[in-house]
């Protein structure tokens, strides 16, 4: 049961081909990691999947629930979260810094709440289902605040949170859109080892809650420990695809991370960072 199927995806910027004919699929309930050296096209691939770029060629199919499929590349950017149930975080954190933590999570539930306000008129007048919808939204927000250990900071401005908390808040915010597929762009970047292992637990919890994950990550500790499936990109091309065990011993991957033709100690970097 695939939740995401990328087929023959190519993305060109003028003469530069950032992603070249990549196909892979992610299983429902799995954590799928996309790894590769800098400039391999990981973030471009991500931006295609989350609708920030329109792919030059290829198709991206997502299945928000069993038996339902949505062609992502045909949707306008804002509809991807709503119809495709795909949520994302950003490599350089993008929070609403001047709004509180709780407000950030309420904005994430915009579509569900907006539908309950009756084009805003009933909401302004304070009539109708809006109160109930808002209470439900608060419950969901509280749930994710607890999961990400931010409950006691709910009324703090998001911009004043420490870095690690901002990372967690961004994940909580994405989860408040109730996605079927959560895409994380380097969630462990800049975290200390303790925060990083807490993140691992959080991601596993999200997966066990029924949401599939797709993550870009440089931290091999995170990738090897929690992912069920790894896709390796290099120079915009997929060079390997498999379980962490297979990837660890794949010569093409080792070559890509070390640089080709360098035969000194082929498996050192991967092995080191795993240990």
């Amino acid at each position: 049961m695939t939740v995401l199927a990328v087929t023959d995806l190519t993305m060109r910027f003028g003469g530069l081909t950032a992603v070249n004919d990549v196909s892979f699929s992610a299983e429902r309930g799995d954590i799928t990691a996309v790894i590769g050296p800098n400039g391999a096209g990981k973030t471009t691939l991500f931006n295609c999947i989350t609708g920030f770029y329109k792919p030059t060629v290829g198709s991206i199919v997502v299945s928000p629930q069993v038996g339902k499929i949505v062609q992502l590349e045909k949707l306008p950017g804002h509809a991807i979260a709503r119809k495709g149930k795909v949520a994302r975080t950003f490599q350089n954190i993008r929070l609403f810094g001047g709004m509180t933590v709780l407000e950030n999570l309420m904005v994430a539930q915009h579509n569900a709440l907006q539908a309950a306000t009756g084009f805003g008129v009933l909401g302004v007048l304070g009539i109708g289902r809006y109160r109930r919808a808002e209470r439900r939204a608060m419950e969901l927000a509280k749930h994710w605040l607890e999961e990400t250990d931010l409950l006691d900071r709910a009324d703090h401005p998001a911009g004043a949170l420490p870095y690690g908390a901002q990372r967690r808040l961004e994940i909580a915010r994405a989860m408040c859109t109730e996605p079927a597929l959560l895409c994380l762009d380097e969630p462990a970047a800049g975290l200390n080892p303790r925060e990083s292992s807490a993140l691992n637990e959080l991601l596993l919890k999200i997966r066990d809650g029924g949401c599939s994950l797709l993550l870009i990550e440089h931290d091999m500790g995170v990738v090897m420990k929690i992912s069920d499936h790894i896709v390796v990109l290099d120079h915009g091309k997929k060079i390997a695809d498999g379980t962490p065990l297979e990837i660890r011993s794949n010569p093409a991957v080792i070559a890509a991370y070390l640089g080709e033709g360098d035969e000194d100690d082929p498996d050192a970097p991967v092995a080191e960072s795993v240990a």
């Binding site: 920030f52 950017g77 509180t100 915009h110 709440l113 009324d155």
Partner: protein, 426 residues
Amino acid sequence: MSGLLDDLKDSASVGFFALLIFGPFIGLRLTDNDAGNLGIATRPEALALAVIAVFAARLLLLTWSRYRPAKTTTSLGTQVQKTGKFIAPALLVFAVVMPLLPGLPNAYIDLGVLIMTYVMLGWGLNIVVGLAGLLDLGYVAFYAVGAYSFALISAQFGLGFWECLPIAGILAAFWGMCLGFPVLRLRGDYLAIVTLAFGEIIRLVITNWVSLTGGPNGLLGMPEPTFFGLRFSMAGGPGTFAGFFGITPAPWQRDAFLYYVILGLALLTNWVTLRLRKQPLGRAWEALREDEIACRSLGINVRNTKLTAFAIGAFFGGFAGCFFAARQSFISPDSFTFIESATVLAIVVLGGAGSQLGVVLAACVMIGVPQMLQSLQIYRMLIFGIALVLIMVVRPRGFISTRRPTVLLGKKPVAIGAELRAEGRG
């Protein structure tokens, strides 16, 4: 004591520039000579006085900033925000009873109407600039659309003020959307330029479409607002306000009524804005100001959200325009120049973008102070300008720069400092 020496050097250089600038302005003076021709006289003592004043002021400013206790401006903002709980109701009570104060000259009620009009315009523009973070330099266009809609519709179809009011608002909102569509992709400075041009286009169309709008001559004879069908007429008699209630007609009745009409319209604007802020739509506006890309990733339709901000802001601008036309009974393109947009934007920025109370305070300063200073004649604008510069130096993010969250989990009130809040890049 190198600090004092530096201060002296700095003040001396400022004094030198003052000499350069004031030299021709104050040092020289045109006179009539005996032959009846123009001559030039010098005023060295006045020039010296001006330069010394600048030097001393600079020195004082520097010394003060060196020795004043370290204090952040946000703490002041938080204080204002806290006392705002009492200031806002107090201002409201004052606004309601003001026209009823005995012995109040009519001119003050008139000034009240003027300030209220700008408060309403400020609150309308606050939706676009303060909440959604879209820099709009052409807000006067919607003011004009509202005024001309009322003038034309009332003349063509014989409708009164109250029937025309919603129509004027809807037409202005329609033009707000028309402006919104082409500028959706623009940000920051580019957005400001296009909105500026839009305001000018509307004004030029009004000026040149003589057959419809009367061109530069303007339009005359709009009906005044009525009190449930009762007119305000000095003649009295049946069908007028004074005649119906059996009182002597007096000019203040009409002025006070107009005052309450605009007060009511402004409070409606305020109420809708405050409610919308706590709604998903209002939160989406603020989120848009903070980070548009994050909004998109959360499934917020950025286009529609921006359009509603433009439309609702324009709607209230149209209301204000309709009221303006009804009060003046005469409108011409001269009332809708760029300086009006700039004034309203200045009110929003001076008040602290996004703050409703700030807009009221800023409107009182921007509109009230120049009127109060009438007696100072030519020095009026000079003092006004200096006052504005001083305000912006002391409070760079406006009177009330803190933001109050729209929803809280705990009970403790929170104010978010201006340094965290984004200003919006369109």
